[in-house]
């Protein structure tokens, strides 16, 4: 078992009544799964993904990630946990504009205090694997959306995470670019990486082995 959410509730206090963002979520994810989260706008998909990614907290319930009880950890410990095991892919790519492709890939390793030699090797390896060696000195603004997302995925992957969380990774891409990214996810999943994606598209959702539907913060 990679992670488990038990009776997770999340709400915000608005005037008198709490507004529930997540209601009684129970979810178990095994290693090697590829899960798609679907639902209409405002159903809590991204919130759920943020909770799983430990970027956001919750109000009630339990969350165990690789035998650690996340709900009882301090913020810093949580950060160490996701730093170690989770890679994020964003709809808007969120590459750092001031850094080249190579430097963007290198950054997570810097934070993990990986030695220079090994950093270089892993970056080179990743550039090679994603076939973007020729782009390594370019800045994000010089790349197409599809290429940027490719770098985004490579960056998420470079720290050897157990889990990749992708929030509408193809949302800003045209269908061909989107397909390429989804094929890439599929391939990564086959290599053993656990993936949870949020998507609007039935077609993309179909890449996953399991679909979770959310409505008003509740799993249906």
């Amino acid at each position: 078992m990679l992670l488990e959410l038990k009776n997770v509730f999340k709400w915000v206090q608005s005037s008198s009544n709490p507004v529930f963002l997540l209601k009684d979520i129970n979810l178990q994810v095994r290693e090697g799964e590829f899960i798609s989260i679907m639902g209409p706008s405002g159903s809590g998909k991204s919130t759920l993904l943020n909770v799983i990614g430990m970027l956001d907290g919750f109000n009630e319930g339990e969350y165990n990630f690789m035998h650690e009880s996340v709900h009882s950890l301090k913020e810093k410990q949580r950060a160490n946990l996701y730093k170690e095991y989770i890679g994020f892919v964003f709809q808007a790519y969120h590459l750092l504009d001031d850094l080249t492709v190579e430097e963007n890939l290198e950054m997570p390793l810097l934070y993990k205090k990986v030695k220079s030699g090994e950093r270089k090797a892993r970056v080179a390896d990743m550039l090679d694997r994603f076939r973007i060696v020729g782009k390594k000195d370019l800045f994000p603004a010089q790349l197409s959306g599809g290429q940027q997302q490719l770098v985004g995925v490579a960056r998420a992957l470079i720290g050897n995470p157990k889990l990749i969380l992708a929030d509408e990774p193809t949302g800003n891409l045209n269908s061909k670019q989107g397909e390429e990214i989804m094929d890439l996810f599929k391939q990564l999943n086959e290599e053993g990486v656990t993936i949870i994606q949020v998507t609007h598209s039935e077609k993309n959702a179909a890449y996953g082995q399991r679909i979770i539907n959310l409505l008003d913060g509740r799993m249906v």
Binding site: F90, A92, L96
Partner: protein, 810 residues
């Protein structure tokens, strides 16, 4: 990691050239200003510290009241120095300087005189006492013999351009022969002796050895033993009054006791002031050289701190404003595993980089401006580039500054939570606007304060220039050193009077601007007790004095050539008659003598009373003054009735060259001399203006950046408003108004503070301008106007953007 920080810092600075420029430019201006002021303050604080054992040297001050006039003098009586050394164990040594003012000096066998502005008699041990060394000659024997003198290097080169000065003969004032026994290095600019160039041997100056305890003409310095308690020394110092001064006074008032002397309201108090305090803390009568006021140092320190603070506030404001753009970066970095500390480090690296670039710029700017600044401040400051200390302090200060200005943005930005800032394109709630707004208010408060300060200083200067002084200072030319003409003086005056551009002229050394003064005690006939003595200025003038200076006679008449008896006639001023408690008319015919205690006193008869005129600084009340006819004069004051000065001067010089061939023709205008009296205020005024402009500039840079940020933040809102039908004016007005509210608040805070501060400053002047409402209205208007100009550019720019463009960000 650090390399990575540097790289990112550099790239993000490069990527935002506009913000980077505002930041660096603002900081550099603040730093350059701060650097210049610091150098100035350092120079002021270093005064007289270069002398040997400076910390053990003290000067004797004398606080004396005799005959109604009180005087706090920097000079003591001639026998004081010797007595101090003999009577007090803690006094290790003492020395004296008797200022002689300007002297005409010429070489033997030459008729051409050269003027030395500052000469003095110095005791034999003077150089040794202050640790001054001679370049040529023996320091121990140089002033041992009468009629020997020591020149500074500059003076030596002036009088002996191509030969060795040592051993040469010089003629002073055309009649005293001196031998040059030493040449010394020029005296440091930051010492009280900076203007002195000629030191004559005291042994040849008779007055120094006659034991006159009653007149105070000698700068007296003592060197005390290490660790001597100066506070405990003040009390025994007073005993000298009983020991020496009273016996001396008894020569003139037989049988008088110290009690009687003091009971009549007179007093004589001795005190000491440390040598190193003189420049900033002493404001006695007849200082050796012009001193500064420690208040000005405080004012400047505040201005320097303000400038740097303003620049630093700018930095914070612009950085946090800019953080909108960095929010995403923070979020991404956090999801990629960065912790808060790493982020803080990175932002601090950026602020350090900006500070260092600013420092480099600031040093260059300060270096370029230094000559102008020196000119303005009347200093000779050099950049201490070779001093490791200078660099150490500079880098320490810059580090502190970058930590100070970088810390708020760093902590502010590192707080962003990824889940907030990575949501969609959302960059809406950056926050921190309350702090940014207060920073703007702070900047404008200081700017408004400085504007008020500038206006009031200039109003006071203007008030001084235009005040009715009781005499007319315009178009009066003063020719110096007319005594060199010898018995031709009257001929010179007569010839000058004949010139068409000359309205009148008068021979007198005594002028309402800084010139000769002589203070004497007088008594009325029949009231010869010393408690009834009147202490007043006695000026020696001629018949044309009143006309030339446009003085007004209130009662009686002016001196008249028709009346032979006018050689014993006297004019009094209003203050004198009001001190005597009589009306001007009652004063006419009064008989007054200055020969206190003499057998057959010579009496003057009061023939007229003149309307008060300001003959000392407007800081002081008008004192008592009397005028009598006198012969010996060193200056001819000439009222011109033309504005073609060069021509008038040329024709006067022409006459001069006929009556006094070879003598230097030295002149000045009375109003120039008057203005010099207020040089300190004028400097302060200029410094105020410059630093007010700088601080306004910095505040504007900040406001400009902030307006840009604000417009950007509200792009969407503006777009929506425009779609809903708002026009450009309405939007620009709305954006501008937001900032005007802040400026309004700043004005509201600054006005009372400014009023308080400037009223306090004006208290120093007995005659002063009023701080009127218009000053505040004007200051407020300037601030508002500047704010509107600064902000409206950005507001209009934001308002004319096509909403299709601004709403596309979603």
């Amino acid at each position: 990691m650090f390399k990575n920080h540097l790289k990112i810092a550099w790239r993000s600075l490069k990527k935002q050239p506009f913000f980077t420029f505002l930041n660096i430019f603002g900081l550099a201006i603040g730093m350059a200003g701060g650097l210049l002021i610091s150098l100035y303050i350092y120079d002021e604080l270093s005064f007289d510290k270069m002398f040997l054992d400076a910390e053990r040297i003290h000067r004797i001050n004398v606080d004396v009241k005799f005959g109604g006039e009180a005087m706090f003098s920097a000079e003591a009586s001639a026998p004081m120095a010797e007595a101090l050394k003999n009577d007090f164990a803690q006094v290790e040594n003492s020395t004296r300087l008797r200022d002689q003012g300007s002297r005409l000096i010429r070489k033997e066998n030459s008729t051409a005189n050269i003027k030395e502005e500052n000469t003095a008699f110095a005791d034999e041990n003077f150089f040794e006492f202050f640790g001054l060394e001679l370049l040529h000659g023996d320091v121990n024997t140089a002033l041992k013999e009468p009629n020997t003198l020591v020149l500074t290097e500059t003076a030596a080169n002036k009088h002996f351009p191509s030969e060795n000065a040592l051993g040469q003969t010089l003629i002073l004032s055309n009649n005293e022969t001196y031998r040059v026994t030493g040449v010394m290095e020029d005296l440091p600019k930051n010492s009280m002796l900076r203007e002195h160039a000629v030191f004559m041997a005291m042994v040849g100056h008779e007055d120094a050895w006659e034991g006159a305890w009653g007149s105070h003409n000698y700068f007296t310095f003592i060197k005390v033993l290490p660790g001597a308690n100066m506070a405990a020394f003040q009390e025994p110092l007073q005993s000298m009054v009983g020991t020496y001064v009273i016996p001396y006074v008894q020569r003139y008032f037989p049988g008088i006791t110290e009690e009687q002397f003091r009971a009549s309201g007179n007093y004589l108090n001795f005190s000491t002031i440390p040598l190193t305090d003189i420049h900033l803390h002493s404001n006695a009568f007849m200082e050796l050289s012009a001193n500064s006021k420690v208040e000005n140092i405080y004012i400047l320190t505040f201005i320097a701190l303000f400038l740097i603070l303003l620049a630093s506030v700018n930095f914070m404001n612009l950085s946090t404003a800019h953080s909108l753009k960095r929010a995403k970066e923070v979020g991404v970095r956090k999801t990629l595993g960065s912790n808060k500390r790493e982020l803080i480090r990175q932002f601090l690296t950026e602020s350090a980089m900006v500070s260092l670039i600013s420092l480099a710029l600031a040093i260059s700017v300060a270096w370029i401006l230094l000559p102008f600044f020196n000119d303005l401040a009347g200093k000779d400051i050099k950049m201490p580039f070779t001093s490791p200390f200078f660099w150490l302090i500079l880098f320490a200060a810059t580090t502190l500054l970058s930590l100070f200005s970088g810390s708020y943005p760093a902590f502010f930005m590192s707080r962003f939570m990824p889940v907030d800032v990575l949501k969609g394109g959302g960059t809406s709630n950056v926050g921190g606007s309350a702090i940014r707004n207060s920073l703007v208010v702070f900047q404008f408060t200081i700017s408004v304060l400085l504007i008020i300060g500038t206006i009031v200083v200039y109003q006071q200067l203007n008030f001084i220039q235009n005040k009715d002084l009781g005499y007319s200072k315009e178009q009066v030319l003063v020719v110096n050193d007319v005594f060199t003409v010898g018995d031709q003086v009257q001929t010179f005056k007569r010839e000058v009077d004949k010139l068409t551009p000359v309205a009148a002229s008068t021979l007198s050394s005594y002028l309402p601007t800084p010139s000769a003064r002589s203070n004497t005690s007088f008594f009325q006939e029949g009231a010869e007790e010393q408690e009834n003595a009147i202490n007043m200025q006695q000026w020696f003038v001629d018949h044309d004095y009143i006309n030339t200076l446009d003085l007004e006679i209130l009662a009686g008449r002016n001196f008249d050539r028709e009346f032979k008896t006018d050689s014993t006639a006297m004019l009094l001023n209003e203050t004198t008659v009001s001190v005597l408690g009589i009306s001007p008319e009652e004063a006419i015919g009064m008989r007054i003598s200055g020969d206190l205690g003499a057998e057959n006193p010579e009496f003057f008869t009061v023939i007229g009373v003149i309307k008060n005129f300001h003959f000392s600084s407007l800081r002081d009340r008008i004192g008592s003054l009397s005028m009598v006819l006198g012969d010996f004069s060193s200056a001819l004051s000439i009222r011109l009735n033309t504005s073609n000065f060069p021509e008038a001067i040329a024709s006067i010089e022409n006459i001069w060259n006929q009556v006094a061939p070879g003598q230097p023709f030295d002149y000045y205008f009375l109003d120039e001399s008057f203005n010099q009296t207020y040089e300190a205020e004028q400097r302060l005024g200029k410094i105020f203006i410059i630093f007010t402009l700088l601080s306004l500039l910095i505040a504007c840079l900040g406001l400009f950046g902030l307006a840009a940020f604000n417009a950007e933040k509200r792009t969407k809102e503006i777009g929506v408003r425009k779609v809903m039908g708002a026009n450009i004016q309405q939007i620009a007005y709305g954006l501008t108004l937001d900032f005007l509210k802040l400026v309004g608040l700043a004005i509201f805070i600054a006005l009372p503070l400014g009023w308080l501060a400037m009223s306090k400053w004006l208290e120093d002047f007995t005659y002063r301008t009023n701080v009127g409402v218009e000053v505040f209205i004007f200051a407020a208007l300037i601030a508002v106007l500047i704010a509107i100009i600064t902000v409206s550019y950005q507001s209009i720019k934001a308002a004319i953007v096509n909403p299709v463009k601004s709403l596309r960000t979603e």
